[in-house]
Symmetry: C2
């Protein structure tokens, strides 16, 4: 066991974009697990849009990270010491942890990753642990897409969006994705089977959407909020659904952000907008992983990881989420398993 | 039968507030019903916030009224000639018609008001025909209030809002209403049994709401949108519901109106916002009227009409909806029945 434990700590709350002084990397002692806890070594750190939310002292779905505390993250690690019957040495666990080589877990914060069959742990963690179930439940439970309906996805080349579009195709929908580069658009159309892709940085989004959705929009899977939400609202069919999985266009802003200007269409078109956080669906995880693994096996569902090596790269890597540089699920590999 | 038929026609689309040149009152011939139609004489004209929507050439839930066409309204009248087996002379009908003494109806546009028992026709039409079922279905189907939860209602002294609050009390909720005068606040508390009332014109709404809702808000019944919506969003509990029945603060605006600034709390608190138009619930009307009549009989549900006499007063009267001058359901009485 290495004697050094690197820990990223939150030093200030970001104002606007995440800057280098927001986190600092410290060398610290390896903690000792108490009764009912385990110590695990980090294998993979998932980087997610929600990291920016946790850094901020705003209303959110969990308490924000406290100043000077270790940065919170979705993690996958290997148990090296256990004082709880829930885990034994060598177990692979995943859940909510911190950006640190060594950390304490408990059955309240992490769970066994479970049997991933032929799927490498990094792929299983990347796809199944958070983004896959998010895509699955948010689209199917809240969006309720029916065969023949039109589903639009923003951040469509992102970790959740790319899965959402593929699941909507599996359900027989006409699927339109918005992404931020021609390369991403090509990928979601050619490799993932989206029907249409719109480059929101170069195209006129309202016009391109109207053309790509000749029958209007039945489900808009919202990852971004802002202007794209407004453009989609304009095209929503009666009784349309807007599952809201993220509002990433707003996370780095410093000014109050107005809601959509077409808010009145919620009333006129009897739309449903509903927020989604995967934490509410933990007890239904097996349902999602069963379906996701089956679809992957059948070649109907593809995932792409965007892996950065070394815990020391985490701060620079997380920034890519907000510039749109990443392609696929963003992860830091600390130690392969 | 009078030889004169007064008809209000839409002459221009309102910009901002409804002005006197928007409608004109004409003397015209009495129309002849065709096959499958009836001719009825107007008894009561309901004036509703949606009238302003119908005047505008904006996205809405029905086509807007065409320029120079008779103004559309929710009406109650007496059949005086019928070419359809659906109605016979003397029947009282209600439904979608126009602001005119005499008009054509068909089974597609109006239905029999039905037996109102001891309730006078004007009260039955005022409460049961539109606002009662709106309050009933929008609150119960979309809001799903549970006993012990906190329900907040805006435009609480209005036709729909005053019923919503009373129904929420029947369901065992803690009920808080927002209204625009001390007289209205007193009425909803003392006469209708609301737990708390807030005068949104004189009080600090965010502070007063926080005080009136010590356990947060579970259901916010939105009739107005705008700043009150934002203040309520801030207090919504996890998994809260926002049935959206109206957005009256926006109807008379000429500038694009931003949606709520606290839109991100939809995600953080996993809220559901859903638009409601009573037209979608026509086939379930009997369920609502049965319950509403029963509650009225039991003294649990009170309604207040605000009646103006004479079709010629309709234009001046409808303006009261947007200044908050009316107390209770706004109606024009043309000819008692």
């Amino acid at each position: 066991m290495s004697e050094s434990n690197r820990v990223w700590r939150l030093r200030k709350r970001p104002v606007g974009d995440i800057t280098d002084d927001v986190l600092s990397l410290e060398n610290e002692a390896i903690p000792e697990p108490g009764e009912g806890e385990c110590l695990f070594q980090l294998n993979y750190l998932s980087l997610d849009p929600t990291n920016r939310i946790w850094m901020s002292d705003i209303e959110q779905y969990m308490p924000p990270v406290e100043l000077d505390a270790p940065m919170r993250g979705v993690v996958c690690g290997t148990v090296i010491k256990s004082n709880t019957p829930a885990f034994k040495e060598g177990d692979i666990v995943s859940g909510i942890g911190s950006w640190a080589d060594y950390q304490i877990g408990s059955p309240e914060t992490v769970g066994l990753l479970g049997d991933t069959g032929d799927v490498p742990v990094i792929d299983a963690f990347g796809t199944l642990a958070l983004v896959g179930p998010s895509a699955y439940f948010c689209l199917l439970d809240i969006g309720e897409p029916k065969a023949g309906e039109t589903v639009v996805v923003s951040a469509a080349a992102g970790a959740v969006g790319s899965l959402v579009g593929q699941i909507a195709k599996i359900k027989g929908c006409h699927v339109v994705g918005l992404a931020g580069s021609d390369e991403k658009c090509q990928w979601i159309k050619d490799d993932l089977g989206f029907d249409e892709a719109i480059n929101y940085k170069t195209e006129n989004v309202p016009e391109a959407l109207a053309q790509a959705c000749p029958n209007g929009i039945d489900v808009y899977f919202d990852n971004v909020g802002g202007k794209i939400l407004d453009a989609c609202l304009k095209l929503m069919n009666l009784f349309g659904r807007i599952p809201t999985c993220g509002l990433i266009s707003q996370y780095n802003t410093t000014e109050p952000v107005p809601g959509p200007y077409n808010y009145d269409l919620i009333l006129m078109h009897r739309l449903k907008i509903q927020g989604f956080i995967i934490l509410d669906y933990m007890d239904r995880y097996p349902e999602a992983t069963e379906a996701l693994v089956r679809w992957m096996d059948e070649g109907k569902l593809k995932a792409r990881l965007d892996v950065s090596d070394g815990l020391e790269t985490a701060l620079q890597t997380v920034k890519k989420l907000y510039t749109g540089e990443n392609t696929g699920k963003l992860m830091v590999r600390v130690k392969d398993v």
